[in-house]
Symmetry: C2
Subunit: 421 residues, 2 copies
């Protein structure tokens, strides 16, 4: 295109953009929140316990204090979700993020397995596969832990770099992983990647893999990705102490009113249970039982997830179809993921344009995850990654939001091109 053609195209796009602005939209695609129609699927769970329920099971009154590490019924369910034995589980409150925070807090002030508390060690670091989950990074920022970006490939983190760093630098104390339907890429780690994790020989005795299996059962297509069982692999090499696995029902039942769990080795569980025994008398067993009674067995849970997937699939399709329609011929400007599950579509726009795209969308009333949020320190070195969260809006809203998004991408790229001519 000639300069004049570019300017004309920009004027045309600005006119389209202004039409959107005049619509005074109020849409939010920023967070991985289920939509109301998906939450409706879980409403019958609220009948699983009522005033007639017998809450004394095997002579234990679940209404009272006790069973600080969780009730057996919910351990059985998480055992299936997480692929570990019930005895490897500690059941918490409503938030797996809170449990990750608790583990890192424990590492900071007390250390794990007899190691020096991190707060008294110098220059400690975590590896952060990017793009990744902002709330993971926020915990590290809160504790002033240095973050090192690790490139994500289509099969997981770049394991050559991970191995080189973890095995040679004892200041590296952890790595964040969302191994299935990763946030935001939606990819699932390959068997090879999982195996290489289990075979790591960390320089630091207190290095831990934070395996946030948030989307273990969250496929949206008929084809559920396969994730190799990290704990089983670790057992082959005696490296179980290297792993904390997290999961929750936040995106199975109700976000914020679900149940969360940690799976860990005996040694790690010992430290964590000690902390929790100081921290609380116990978590909400009635809500644990509510979940366990509703999902009588794992098959029911999987059926339930299929219903959720059926609501999510057309939303993901809407986003992907819009992108395909608008950009099939301009693929140097933009690329996007097509995940089989999870909550996000990751978009990479032309370098240096992500912030501008998000800003343009925001000005026109569509809130996206802030550009940069998927990177430590909120700095995307290429300013190109944008996380789209299609789960919450309706399909009608998504169509509108994506029409706007596509205009904003084109406009931002055009502005960039013109400015660098």
């Amino acid at each position: 295109m000639t300069y004049k053609q570019l300017i004309n195209e920009k004027l045309y796009l600005e006119e389209k953009y202004n039409q959107f602005k005049n619509m005074h939209l109020h849409l939010d695609m920023s967070r991985g929140k289920p939509g109301p129609e998906q939450l409706d699927i879980s409403m019958p769970m609220l009948n699983a316990i009522n005033s007639s329920s017998d809450l004394t099971i095997h002579e234990t009154d679940y209404r009272n204090y006790g069973m600080a590490d969780g009730i057996p019924e919910i351990k059985n369910l998480f055992s299936k979700i997480m692929g570990v034995e019930p005895k490897q589980l500690f059941i918490g409150g409503n938030s797996s993020l809170n449990m990750m925070f608790d583990v890192i807090s424990c590492m900071m002030t007390h250390g794990l397995c007899g190691c020096k508390p991190l707060i008294f060690q110098k220059n400690i670091k975590f590896l952060c596969p990017v793009p990744g989950y902002d709330r993971h990074f926020n915990i590290l920022s809160y504790y002033n832990i240095d973050m090192i970006n690790i490139k994500m490939t289509h099969s997981g983190p770049d394991m050559d770099t991970v191995q080189q760093l973890v095995e040679n630098d004892d200041s590296i104390k952890g790595i964040w992983c969302v191994p299935k339907y990763s946030n935001p890429l939606g990819i699932t780690y390959s068997d090879e990647v999982v195996k290489r994790f289990s075979m790591l020989k960390p320089a630091a005795k207190d290095f831990r893999i934070f395996w946030d299996n948030a989307y273990a059962v969250h496929s949206i297509t008929e084809k559920d990705d396969h994730l190799l069982n990290l704990m089983d692999e670790c057992k082959k090499y005696g490296s179980e102490d290297m792993v904390f696995i997290f999961a929750s029902t936040s995106k199975i039942t109700f976000p914020g009113s679900g149940v969360a769990a940690i799976a860990a080795s005996d040694n790690n569980l010992k430290d964590i249970k000690k902390r929790y025994s100081i921290q609380t008398i116990g978590f909400d067993k009635i809500n644990q039982l509510r979940h366990a009674k509703y999902f009588m067995d794992y098959e029911e849970l999987i059926n339930h997830m299929k219903k959720c997937g059926k609501i999510l699939k057309p939303k993901f399709d809407t986003v992907i179809n819009k992108l395909t329609e608008e950009f099939k011929e301009n693929s140097e400007f933009i690329s996007w993921t097509k995940p089989n599950g999870g909550y996000f579509i990751s978009v990479d726009v032309y370098s240096g344009c992500a912030k501008r795209v998000v800003e343009l969308c925001k000005t026109a009333g569509v809130i996206l995850t802030p550009a940069g949020a998927t990177y430590p320190y909120k700095i995307d070195p290429n300013d190109s990654n944008i996380r789209l969260a299609p789960a919450y809006p309706s399909i009608e809203e998504l169509n509108l939001a994506m029409d706007l998004f596509c205009v904003c991408v084109k406009l931002a790229v055009l502005e960039k091109k013109i400015s660098t001519l």
Copy 2:
């Protein structure tokens, strides 16, 4: 009594004791747990929300993420329970102990209101009115915070000592208080004591009063003790930043499945909210709403507590009547409290006998709170305090347990007397 009389009396008591042993009792009076008949009162709450409930209120879907500091309905309820404005509240999960732990953890690693984190300050200390609550002391032990015993009087902690220490020693960073129906004494701080707390001028800018108002609405008699409002008093002297107030519904509805809250000044809330925004996306709003819907207003909650009190009163009476029957003529051996509310009766036995009494009871199948547990480091300097928790057992069980307890007290005192002859 002559030596021979003492020996004969001992033989007689040992025979009685052995009769109890032969009964193979299994009773637990160790913890402040409501009994099943008391928990039954709260069962209708489990119907407050069901699958037909509209959980979208003022356009906010309570099933989803959001409202990280709690829903307005539960803030209104806690505002009445705690005597503070709703905007001074942060609503948490099921455990106020966990919130106390969170605040102290925050002080340890980040400091409050710009002060240096406690972990980087030397020789930090908390004041611990004794006898007190073992779980408070356990948090301090976990963080290696030194504990200083403060004598409890009939109107609260010995405020001359508190004031002298707090105002002159900047290494003193906090004090634990259970100001109403204290654990285990059952006393309520006098107006004078509350006023003196509000007027403290701490040497340390980061000194905090941990006001664990666990039994704010937990009277068991017609006469509810009056506790002066600490936050209101602090406002008179601009000392609100000195106070964290805690409460929960653990002993209103279900222990472990209730809702907890912190009340604090704007400055303290700012630090605490920042931490919670890193730690979690939010707490269980459905359970918050369940509680708020069940207790439509504060009057209903007070009526509910009256029902609980009616169940607790005869249990407390059973313990006190047994003690009165058995010891009215031997009051130099034993004294006990007669609280108007709360969960405990505090017994002081002849110096050096508490451990032996608890051991004798345990051997005969009645578990009491371990002697020493009501003191920091589990050391009761007089070995005389025993915490009795009458709430859980039935009256029949309490009669039996108290008959045994009285025999054990007499036997332990007699053993002591003989050994020191």
